[in-house]
């Protein structure tokens, strides 16, 4: 059963936005180098279509791998912090400090540390920028578990691990997916940051770079739109996973 309204409304919103954009550029008489219009983007996309697919794929898989590592690491870190008060006190300031470092400044550092390891560098950055919200949400989810939930199982002699698997983990899933939605966009930013800052000829970030070098403004804008489209795709992939694993948290009517 497909709810057409649910699909048509957002599509209509995109069309309206594109029309307004086109109209604005036309009314202001802006040249391409100031602001390309949507009608210029399509030809730019068609001309370099094969590059879009190739680079888009590179950006996509490196983001997803980086995010995957962030999910595993962030969840483990969140578990450690959520289940042990001491570890929470010890790790929180470190984590906040690490997160506060602008990641653009880290790019040259890791580029030097792992010279030529472009895929690795990119995945590392996607991971570093995105694990924080996951760790924090899992930690908060676990540490705020009401004691009664624990007691019903502990009083039956259940181990800490059983309580974790049967109650704490599933109960944390809604918060986890909330964080994952933030993390997926962050991972995406991380990937592109590396692709744009370190010249290694891969990913949509690189396509953006070469468009800039060649003053191909419609292509630059087309890349931005492609990035936005990829971002939306990834986001809704997470939403689909959320429906499957934490659909119970969605009350009917919302």
């Amino acid at each position: 059963m497909i709810d057409w309204k649910k699909i048509l409304v957002p599509v209509a919103a995109v069309v309206v936005l594109l029309l307004l954009w086109e109209l604005l550029v036309w009314a202001m008489g802006w040249p391409d180098y100031k602001m390309a219009s949507p009608s210029d983007l399509w030809p730019a996309f068609l001309r370099y279509q094969h590059l879009f697919w190739q680079y888009g794929w590179q950006t996509l898989w490196r983001t997803v791998v980086g995010l995957g590592v962030a999910v595993v690491f962030g969840t483990l870190l969140g578990m450690v912090m959520g289940l042990s008060k001491t570890m929470n006190d010890a790790l929180y300031p470190l984590l906040v400090g690490f997160n506060a470092i602008p990641k653009a400044t880290v790019v040259p550092v890791i580029a030097l540390m792992f010279v030529g390891q472009h895929d690795f560098n990119t995945i590392l950055m996607a991971f570093m920028i995105s694990f924080f919200p996951i760790a924090v949400s899992v930690a908060i989810g676990l540490s705020t578990l009401e004691p009664e939930y624990r007691d019903i199982l502990r009083s039956l002699g259940a181990s800490r691990m059983t309580v974790f698997w049967k109650i704490a983990l599933p109960k944390t899933l809604p918060e986890f997916f909330g964080a994952l939605k933030v993390a997926v966009t962050l991972a995406f930013i991380g990937t592109n940051l590396v692709e744009i800052i370190t010249p290694h000829g891969r990913g949509l970030g690189h396509l953006f770079q070469s468009a800039q070098t060649n003053s191909d403004f419609p292509l630059m804008f087309a890349v931005l739109i492609a990035l936005a489209a990829l971002g939306i795709m990834l986001y809704y992939a997470i939403v689909a996973l959320e429906r499957i694993f934490a659909g119970w948290a969605v009350r009917p009517g919302h």
Partner: protein
């Protein structure tokens, strides 16, 4: 007499930065098998501590908790618990929620058998037809009924009820009181009920224990020797009114507002 639970001279204090914080002092409670013990007392007098001691989730500084002739040294599989908050798991159906203790206590039991047992209890409390619903689809009273089923599903020696009816409206609460009597008639169990409601304590309890203010000690024990299931009209009989007056006074003494 053969008691299922014997709490003997239990004294307990929490350790705080400002030094020990005594909550229980020389507390004694005995509950015979298949009898229902209601515990009342001023708020914050350590009633919830008592439930955790019986469940084996905590151990007293002094004194002993005996369950079924054994000293309680660790959590036991033979306890069922229900709280003011029904704490049902939102990602499970009502049926799956009720089954939960069986998954811990009897992991080898066939699924069909677990489900049959849960269905039987749900039918007893009037939740037939709601097995497949999520907790969020049920009213507060119905959730509490499901929570009672979960406390009973593994046929525990004792169920510990920590104000399970406290957050319900007056009519729903009376319904659930009657449900408790029906459940006891269908399959006898031993219960310890923590409550703030004197009417509830007299209607449900075979004995009512009044605890003193903190640190709590056994101040008064009233025996309510009326066989169950008791009709709701019992609440309006002169006998009951008299009992309530006595309990009321004991609570005032416990609160320090009246002198013994």
């Amino acid at each position: 007499m053969d008691n299922l639970i014997d709490i003997k001279g239990v004294t307990h204090a929490y350790k705080t930065k400002a030094g020990p914080f005594p909550v229980l002092r020389d507390l004694n409670i005995s509950i015979p098998q298949h009898s229902f013990c209601a515990v009342v007392g001023p708020s914050g007098c350590g009633k919830s501590t008592l439930t955790r001691l019986i469940a084996g989730l905590m151990f007293p500084d002094q004194g002993e908790v005996w369950l079924h002739g054994e000293l309680v040294k660790s959590p036991r599989k033979t306890v069922g618990m229900a709280f003011q908050n029904p704490v049902l798991l939102e990602w499970r159906t009502i049926l799956q929620n009720v089954i939960l203790p069986l998954e811990i206590v009897a992991p080898m039991m066939p699924k069909a058998q677990k489900e049959a047992r849960a269905r039987e209890l749900l039918a007893m409390v009037g939740l037939e037809g709601f097995e497949g619903k999520r907790p969020s689809e049920l009213s507060g009273g119905m959730r509490q009924r499901a929570s009672l089923c979960r406390a009973l599903v593994h046929k525990p020696d004792i169920i510990i009820l920590d104000e399970p009816f406290g957050a319900l409206d007056a009519f729903t609460r009376e319904d659930l009181w009657q449900t408790m009597h029906q459940l006891r008639a269908n399959e006898p169990f031993t219960a310890l009920l923590i409550t703030h409601d004197l009417r509830e304590s007299v209607y449900l309890g075979d004995q009512v224990v009044v605890l003193s203010g903190r640190p709590a000690t056994t101040q008064y024990v009233m025996s309510v020797d009326i066989p169950g299931p008791r009709p709701l009209e019992m609440l309006y009989e002169p006998d009951t009114v008299e009992r309530l007056a006595v309990l009321r006074r004991e609570i005032q003494i416990a609160q320090g507002r009246a002198v013994a």
